[in-house]
């Protein structure tokens, strides 16, 4: 049977992709950010996940305002890196796992999550930057990807509670897939940042670290954080952190911390990264 063996949380700032693509990951600015991912890159090489359910948000690349799905799952065979206005990133195409993705999609719908199904789309930095952070620059990505896109732009975005519950349902769906697969779930985005208005540039290291604390162990306090708290404390784009709760919810009642990293700043944003595994 398939099983979820670990969860990864990570920011997905586009500038990190630029640093990888231009070979700047060890310079004075980016060095401390990437050093915090060294542990994870080695760990991933040993773990060799077959599939990653990658929770991210599209940044006006695959979707525009014509259609705004709250939760959408990629059931396609293959996804190309999106052209975000300066040409697509020169990274490998993303290979889907259509069998598992369709199984998850069907299971979630039967489990009362009314998913939008995507057969074709390009994937932007929200999805490819975490792959670069965790896998470096291989010729082909070493795992298949099930993209799970969340609306965290147009309000109301889904609640933390709903995201957590979706994670729980994803774990049930994966557990009922007959093939023996090592599946990870990644929650991406955040941490504190605000990209708009006179309050732009807001960062909140104290709050971000409390949030990381709340992902570890038995507490489910994070699922009850209301939108307004993210907005007030972590900036208008800090709301992306609800996507980490899908990852956390999928890991079950209790987690164990494997690795943690935090760094300020990357461009406008606080970088957070955590690796967790389900604990009995």
């Amino acid at each position: 049977m398939a099983r979820i063996t670990a969860g990864v949380g990570s920011s997905h700032v586009p500038l990190l992709g630029v640093a990888v693509d231009q070979g700047k990951t060890r310079d004075d600015y980016f060095g401390p950010i990437f050093a915090g991912y060294d542990w994870t890159r080695e760990w991933e090489q040993a773990e060799k996940p077959d599939v990653i359910v990658l929770v991210y948000n599209d940044h006006a690349s695959a979707f525009d305002m014509k259609i705004v799905p709250t939760f959408a799952i990629g059931c396609g065979e293959r996804y190309k890196p999106a052209d975000e206005g300066w040409g697509p990133r020169q990274v490998p195409d993303v290979e889907g796992h259509a069998d598992l993705a369709w199984h998850i999609a069907q299971s979630l719908i039967l489990d009362d999550f009314d998913m939008t199904i995507i057969n074709e789309m390009d994937v932007d930095h929200g999805l490819t930057v975490p792959l670069s952070m965790m896998f470096g620059t291989p010729d082909a990505w070493p795992a298949k990807i099930v993209p799970l896109a969340v609306n965290v732009v147009t309000y109301p975005v889904p609640s933390g509670n709903r995201c957590w519950a979706l994670g729980e349902a994803i774990a049930r769906a994966v557990a009922s897939f007959p093939e023996d697969l090592n599946v990870q779930i990644w929650g991406t985005g955040g941490m504190s940042h605000q990209l708009q208005g006179p309050r732009a540039g807001l960062l909140n290291a104290e709050w971000d670290n409390r949030f990381l604390d709340m992902l570890i162990g038995e507490t489910d306090a994070a699922r009850w954080i209301p939108h307004i708290e993210y907005l007030r404390e972590t900036g208008s784009e800090g709301i992306e952190m609800v996507m980490w709760l899908i990852m956390r919810g999928a890991l079950g009642a209790k987690t164990r911390l494997l690795h943690r990293h935090y760094h300020i700043p990357c461009s406008n944003t606080a970088i957070g990264h955590i690796v967790l595994e389900p604990a009995e």
Partner: protein
């Protein structure tokens, strides 16, 4: 009348009291220096954002650069929105329902980095903004609530 309307089946799964949408939306407007991209803004700014999205295509960028006003005239935009777009007045565009992820297509078209474009919405120059970020960013202290700030200033008077 004995008809009591459609029968509602048993509740399943977790339930919680419905959020009060009016309180929810009012709180979103209570954050200093912030325009949350609410449904109302998304509706108002629809064509601003779809215009910005069109700049994802190289041929549209070329046409826009060649004659900005003419390109904008192809879109059902108000004169106010056209003016704000031509002036790159991003705070004004947020007020008109622009969203930063869409407006960023215009940043890219102008060759501006995200951080530089964002800095134009603050009261800082780009070097000042960059230094603030390198020094830990803007603190949320005193920036959390318009109502709380107002109450504090009235108390102080």
């Amino acid at each position: 009348m004995t008809d009591s309307g459609p029968t509602i089946g048993p509740m399943t799964g977790a339930t919680k009291p419905s959020a009060n949408i009016h309180e929810y939306l009012a709180e979103l407007e209570d954050i200093p220096g912030t325009r949350v991209y609410t449904a109302a803004r998304a509706r108002r700014g629809y064509h601003i954002n779809q215009f910005a999205m069109s700049l994802m295509k190289a041929e549209n960028r070329d046409r826009f650069r060649a004659d900005q006003a003419a390109y904008l005239n192809e879109w059902p935009l108000s004169d106010e929105a056209k003016g704000a777009l031509l002036a790159r007045d991003y705070n004004h565009l947020l007020d008109l329902g622009g969203n930063v992820y869409f407006l960023s297509k215009l940043f890219s078209c102008d060759g501006l980095s995200f951080a530089e474009a964002v800095s134009t919405m603050t009261d800082m120059t780009f070097p000042e903004y960059r230094d603030m970020m390198l020094n830990g960013g803007r603190s949320p202290e005193g920036q959390r609530s318009i109502r709380a700030n107002l109450a504090a200033s009235e108390k102080g008077n």
